[in-house]
Symmetry: C2
């Protein structure tokens, strides 16, 4: 079996910890069994490895997440990045073409597609094994996981099975996010929540993909990705499938998609530099800033502080956050990259339109930043920790603590860390944009 | 009449906006009549000027506040800075010696001592005029202001007058911060709160001062300041006075000393980069940070964010804040100086003990920083806005936007702004301390 983990998402509902660069599945807010911080995707991959699926994981993602995925899951992680954001059907189709064309999987290979961020227990992965077995035995063309509901929620899609017999049960129909009253009736019918896990044979998806485009090698699918329709896997595959079955999972399963649900899983009432007074109840404070937070007298509240902003919210009101984040979100202030992290510590704009951004850039031991230039800004680097190599307009020099480097607009530069390398960068110019970058090949070994 | 404004205080109860460098009277959280932000001391000085006392103000303060006082009240402000912090009696005695020895005031000059931060109305200053008139007519040796209480508070000192007759009323006795039950009995007796305003003849205080030290000129009192006992004006002067009278003031009077009382006077529910949701009630958010705050679902709460930290607190629990601030307070992150402002944007310490602090230094047009050196740190300056002059080890050069200046340990440097000058400074070293500074004379005109 192959497993395609869908890693998409935006940063709106867990603002300010999540942002366009760090989606919710990457937040290190959970606890691994050894007590260290763990993100949702790290937890799922750990659970998959424990269940024996470690070698079978392919991650369907986008180019912007490639760095953080490698940083959190290891450089060897198999990542299929869509060239542009479309929807879940194109993302799954592309990953399936990769399995077929690059990995050489046969058409009858069993494939499971699943989300990268359910908060669940080991039984969940046993059910995935049962779903795969059902497909292998041709009990259905497509097997879904049905989560046993614990309340008539209007936030989920519902799967209505035929009867309550032996699994896999045949699916009679689907209902998308019904009102609560209808959800109550659905529960009486024995309906299950759609958990977003789908198991099928590879050839089933590649033949649907063929309706839109056919290429002899994988690169063709990357280059013509826009030919896939912007449609969801549910609409394009599930709703059109000949026979669909469902296997229920009735263990712990949570969508930690809002602060209200997430805070229940946080290891401790506070993390980071936080002092809690004596009059708080059911209140969680997460502080990723260097400055202290003092919290007292709060009830059923969540406080979250990051370089992107500060959230102070009653837990029951966190659902409304996504309605406001457009007014809150600017450029991501904290970014996790393949080579390390980048954190904005100050932004300013002067009356004449001149702008400055100061950042702390922390490059991992052995990490390197590509050879590149900016046309519209100057940068001043002060090396504050570690050692490394700098390539500047073709000349290589050693970087050491205390050094200052001036990188004028148009100057090509690359950097490589020996140990951890920390740089305070001051960007200056009339235009400071992430798009103002041109990259060039560079090989440190040649020099 | 001369007016001595007592400007002391620490930054604990209005943390994180107040800190050791910016006491509560300097917070620009009130609104001037023209709508611009105003601090408590700016408000009191404006009210004194409106009442015709503008030429009579002397501020008894300490060296650390001199810069911020000049910044907020003007360069010409008369400030008597105590050489070290002692208590209110030495501070008043020193200011009185200044009036006597430097300003040449006669012994029968009427002097009013008052706090710099009562939130009150014009009638307050009329009462001060009446108090001065009572001293001028020798109705008493010392006249106090009694605030008409609106509740039996245990937070104030009480003045019990004899009868309720014509003012000034003779004072029978004082009671310091009684329990609420006793405060209730005191109210029945017609007791008043001690408002901390005292009017007397200059010679009364200078003769008490003479018991501790006598010098022919003012410098003697500065140099021997430690000879004054560490005692309060109440204990040394009020309790020992021959005849004390009180004049009541029954207008608006508030001690804006906690977030609970201060938030009632804030002009708007939020200030700074704040988005308020639709489910807040009686909640105030003050944000001095560049990043946005989102607040929703809060009731009777105050949120305050500054470079020093973040407060999230039920208004009724803000009284307890001072019990925690020792655990919260580190070096002041935001400082207002004579020449402008300094704001820490990042601090780090590396495993080998090496430290960095990044600051944004904004120097006012025409402002200058003294010629000085640091023994134990290097600094890198990047000029991001404005122009100015740099003196570096005796050589003067022009500073312009985009320039980088490296100031090694031991190098003497001074800077002077033409227009507003903004510098991003990176400090680096094993020891980063405000005490690591030696200053030298420097005259820009000589060069």
């Amino acid at each position: 079996m192959k497993i395609i983990l869908l890693s998409g998402g935006s940063g709106k509902r867990l603002w300010p910890l999540s942002n366009d660069s760090r989606s919710k599945q990457f937040l290190p807010v959970l606890r691994a069994p050894d007590g260290s911080p763990e993100s949702m995707i790290q937890r799922v991959v750990r659970q998959l490895r424990d269940a024996g699926f470690g070698q079978d994981i392919t991650i369907a993602s986008n180019a912007g997440q490639k760095g953080i995925l490698m940083n959190q899951l290891g450089e060897e992680t198999e990542i299929i990045a869509e060239p542009e954001r479309r929807d879940t059907f194109p993302a799954v189709a592309l990953a399936c073409q990769y399995l077929s064309k690059v990995r050489g999987c046969p058409d009858d290979e069993v494939v499971a597609v699943m989300p990268c961020d359910p908060f669940t227990t080991d039984g969940y992965f046993r059910v995935i094994g049962e779903m795969a077995e059902a497909v292998r035995q041709d009990r259905a063309q497509l097997v879904l996981m049905g989560i046993t509901p614990d309340r008539p929620s209007s936030k989920f899609g519902y799967i209505v099975p035929e009867g309550k017999g032996e699994t896999p049960m045949k699916v009679r129909r689907f209902t998308e996010k019904p009102p609560v009253e209808e959800a109550e009736r659905l529960l009486e019918e024995g309906a299950l929540w759609n958990g977003g896990v789908f198991v099928f044979r590879l050839g089933h998806i590649t033949s649907i993909s063929d309706k839109y485009q056919k290429h002899s090698d994988f690169r063709g699918y990357i280059e013509n990705y826009a030919q896939y329709p912007r449609t969801s896997f549910d609409r394009e595959v599930v709703e059109k499938a000949r026979d669909v079955a469902v296997i229920p999972f009735d263990g712990e399963w949570k969508d930690l998609g809002t602060w209200n649900t997430l805070s229940g899983e946080l290891g401790s009432p506070s993390s980071g530099n936080v002092v809690m007074g004596e009059h708080n109840s059911n209140t969680h404070v997460v502080n990723e800033l260097g400055i202290p937070v003092f919290c007292d007298g709060m009830k059923d509240a969540v406080v979250a502080c990051s370089p992107d902003g500060i959230l102070v919210c009653a837990k029951n009101d966190t659902e409304t956050l996504k309605d406001y984040t457009d007014r809150l979100v600017h450029r991501p202030m904290y970014e996790e990259r393949r080579w390390g992290t980048s954190r904005v510590i100050d932004c300013a704009e002067y009356p004449d339109g001149f702008k400055t951004v100061a950042k702390v850039i922390a490059i991992k031991a052995g990490g390197s930043i590509n050879y590149h230039l900016h046309r519209r800004r100057d940068e001043v680097w002060t090396i504050v920790n570690g050692t490394g190599l700098l390539a500047l307009d073709g000349k290589v020099s050693v970087l050491e603590r205390g050094q200052t480097v001036r990188i004028g607009a148009g100057m090509r530069h690359a950097v490589k860390a020996d140990g951890e390398l920390t740089i305070i960068e001051v960007q200056m110019g009339g235009v400071l944009s992430e798009e103002d970058i041109e990259t060039f090949p560079w090989d440190w070994k040649d020099r």
